[in-house]
Symmetry: C2
Subunit: 205 residues, 2 copies
């Protein structure tokens, strides 16, 4: 089974790399599909589910365990229910066959399946350029605003990983390959990483 | 000009990877040659020169600047003389043509030449296995002793990098590619990294 998990900094081009990898290797690609499935099942908004998955339990549990008045019980329950569902769905998807899974701590959740865990990052100027390319006509962020947004998204991602993993999100020790995409064109980078993935899955053990 | 710098954790197989990369790409390989040149020029032992380069100025300077009684002046001078020579030799070697340079903060010293900076690391069990393979018949280290040795060497390497670099030694932000060699056979890994290097030097800008 070839499972590739991609964790990435916001603006690093990680999502494009993941999509292209799946295409090149002709395997399934899972990203927002997981959020959509959970949202539909629970009749919740995708934004709400996404937020809970990003934050993980780390933010609510330590508080609610100690001070029961600080957070309504039904919210605790719905949070952990969503996280349990997320883990189950990710495991089910992985069991179906080869795939690329974006984020969502899949590197930790699927540990037993020996996935190839890749981390994608870039320097701030490159991330700002990539975010600008994605801006719609109505959006006009200053560089400072963009930097703030990039840091916020990454902080949320790191938080969700905190509770599950032995290593912190983004710590190279948690990954098999860390790719700095500063100044690189993802379309040309993807075949290189696809080759690395092929080598990695066929390596002698 | 294609310059590859390799920084690596002790026992990660980084040196073998560097040698094989140089062979595959048919470019020069510099490692201890730099130490030897400085040692000969100054009639010093290679061990002494190597120790100074690893430690860098960070350990001696902050003390000697403030308390002139704590460190003999001639030692300060010889330390900085050696470090200046190291930088000059590394720059001269890089100017001669394509090469792989191992460690010695070459990633920072050669910044202006846009080298491909690779960091090689592995988990502790893999590093212990690699160190065992290198043990001579007379050496018999326990796992705990080996772990201690590995940590000591890495701490020294990190210290030498401290003064020069914006990023700490081993921080992924300082490198273009970080490769986890845990469980990998370097001989099979090397061609993959060589391909990545070719792509990187020929990339569109």
């Amino acid at each position: 089974m070839r499972i590739i998990t991609i964790s990435r900094e916001f603006g690093s081009g990680g999502r494009e790399l993941g999509k292209r990898l799946a295409e090149l290797l002709q395997i399934a690609y899972y990203d927002k599909e997981i959020i959509t499935a959970i949202a539909q099942k629970n009749q919740l908004s995708e934004a709400y589910v996404s937020d809970i998955i990003d934050k993980g339990l780390s933010r609510t549990y330590p508080i609610t365990m100690q001070r029961s008045f600080s957070f309504p019980t039904y919210l605790q329950e719905s949070t952990s229910k969503i996280l349990v569902q997320q883990q189950r769905i990710i495991k089910e998807l992985a069991a179906q066959g080869d795939c690329v899974i974006m984020g969502q701590s899949a590197d930790v959740i699927l540990r037993d399946r020996n996935p190839l865990n890749i981390f994608v990052y870039a320097d701030m100027p490159s991330k700002i350029i990539r975010c600008r390319e994605r801006e719609t006509a109505e959006e006009h962020f200053t560089d400072t605003e963009l930097q703030k947004k990039i840091r916020q998204v990454d902080t949320k991602r790191a938080r969700g990983h905190e509770l599950l993993g032995k290593h912190k999100w983004g710590e190279k020790e948690a990954y098999h390959l860390c790719v700095n995409t500063s100044g690189l064109v993802i379309k040309s980078l993807a075949p290189q990483i696809a080759e690395y993935a092929k080598y990695w899955f066929e390596r002698e053990k």
